[in-house]
């Protein structure tokens, strides 16, 4: 019976909260000023549940759930910040830092990189895992933007914004596993692709993988917050 009720009540980190049926744990948590770290999630884009940073614990279950896609249920008891979760989050961030070449000090996104600030907020002090140091390329063929694979964390925000918001689907992922790469068209140079030059992918990129050539050195080059506004305007039409 309770499944049909439109309003659910649940407990997040000991705090009582109410939610509409179908809301995700992440939405409800943020409404209640409870911070759950995220990386692949971006308000205004579909969710893929890929980065696993937003995993939370549910009382009575050993399985961790991704808060960005898991929906609330009546009486649910959610813990977002246990020692177990903190450990996993640090390991996941460590995996990302060791996967490609993230050298903050020489990165264009230094100081406004979501990966960097997550590392700080989650208390990642050093990386114990061996650095993989893969040899990756930088694509500067586009007249306005640059793609640096060394900094890419494969969150696929660029792929989603291009397909879902711009409607061009110029970006996608090629290969698989550790060899996955974001590409434009048939792995063509970005500058020679069917890119519409709207720049949305650059705005949503959480790291220095996609950047605007003219903004190098500026303080806050990215503004991913245009998405909810865009969606709202579309709905209104």
């Amino acid at each position: 019976m309770s499944e049909n009720v439109e309003v659910k009540t649940l407990v997040i980190d000991g705090q009582e909260a109410s939610a509409r049926r179908g809301q995700t744990i992440l939405e409800v948590a943020r409404e209640n000023n409870i911070n759950i770290p995220t990386l692949c999630h971006l308000e205004g884009l579909s969710d893929v549940g890929a980065c696993r940073l937003c995993l939370v614990e549910i009382a009575g279950s050993n399985k961790l759930l991704p808060a960005c896609v898991a929906t609330v249920s009546e009486g649910m008891e959610v813990s977002t910040n246990t020692e177990r979760l903190a450990k996993h989050r640090r390991t996941i961030l460590e995996l990302l830092f060791a996967e490609r070449n993230h050298i903050c000090s020489v990165c264009v996104a230094n100081g406004h990189c979501e990966l960097q600030s997550l590392g700080q907020s989650q208390g990642l002090t050093h990386v114990r895992l061996p650095y993989r140091n893969p040899e990756l390329t930088v694509d500067a063929s586009h007249e306005r933007f640059t793609l640096d694979h060394n900094r890419c964390i494969l969150c696929t925000r660029c792929v989603r914004v291009c397909a879902e918001i711009e409607g061009a689907h110029v970006w996608d992922v090629m290969g698989r596993g550790i060899n996955s790469m974001v590409i434009t068209d048939l792995n063509d140079d970005w500058g020679n692709s069917s890119c519409t030059r709207c720049g949305k992918c650059v705005q949503v990129c959480p790291t220095g993988a996609l950047f605007d050539k003219s903004q190098i050195g500026s303080e806050h080059p990215k503004h991913p917050d245009f998405l909810p506004y865009l969606n709202l305007m579309r709905e209104a039409q």
């Binding site: 397909a163 970006w171 996608d172 992922v173 090629m174 698989r176 590409i183 434009t184 048939l186």
Partner: protein, 165 residues
């Protein structure tokens, strides 16, 4: 509404008609992408940019998505195969029975790494993730034909036969 016109066949090579046939059979639906890429590979031996572009445009699949699919599945090859292909099964049973040694042996004999073709275009060296002939491990496929309980000597002999041909 813009009406959709499928692109013309890339050339008058008859094989494009076979490729087109697969798409037609599936009503040019997007979900026929993998089926069609299979037809391209069985007709041409591999997938190149032109064929992926043709299929993607015909099925109205974004180019990057088609390329993402073509490179996701290991069965698809983006390079033309050699005259002959030696495929070494690296499934668990074959591994337990020494498939890694057969692979190393072949790499040395041919002077190419796994996934490559000899400079003269004669032999490609590939691996397969289990062909299901585990009870006869280690197994290799010589131009697709299964040979079981393969010894080092037999393998070298086969490779030599191909390279001097």
């Amino acid at each position: 509404m813009t009406t959709f016109t499928p692109p013309p066949l890339p050339s008058d090579d008859k094989r494009w008609k076979i490729v087109n046939g697969t798409m037609r059979k599936n009503g040019f639906a997007r979900h026929a992408l993998i089926e069609t890429l299979h037809t391209v590979q069985s007709s041409f031996g591999y997938l190149d940019d032109d064929s992926i572009r043709f299929v993607a445009r015909s099925l109205r699949v974004p180019l990057s998505q088609a390329y993402g699919v073509a490179t996701f599945y290991h069965y698809f090859s983006l390079k033309p195969p050699g005259e002959h292909t030696m495929t070494i099964c690296t499934g668990t049973a074959c591994y337990i029975k020494g498939a890694d040694k057969l692979l190393a042996e072949s790499e040395m004999k041919l002077g190419v790494a796994l996934g490559q073709t000899t400079a003269d275009g004669k032999v490609s060296l590939m691996t397969a993730r289990c062909v299901g002939a585990c009870s006869r491990a280690p197994v290799v496929l010589c131009d697709g034909k299964v040979s079981g309980e393969m010894s080092r000597e037999q393998l070298i002999e086969q490779l030599e036969r191909w390279t001097v041909e």
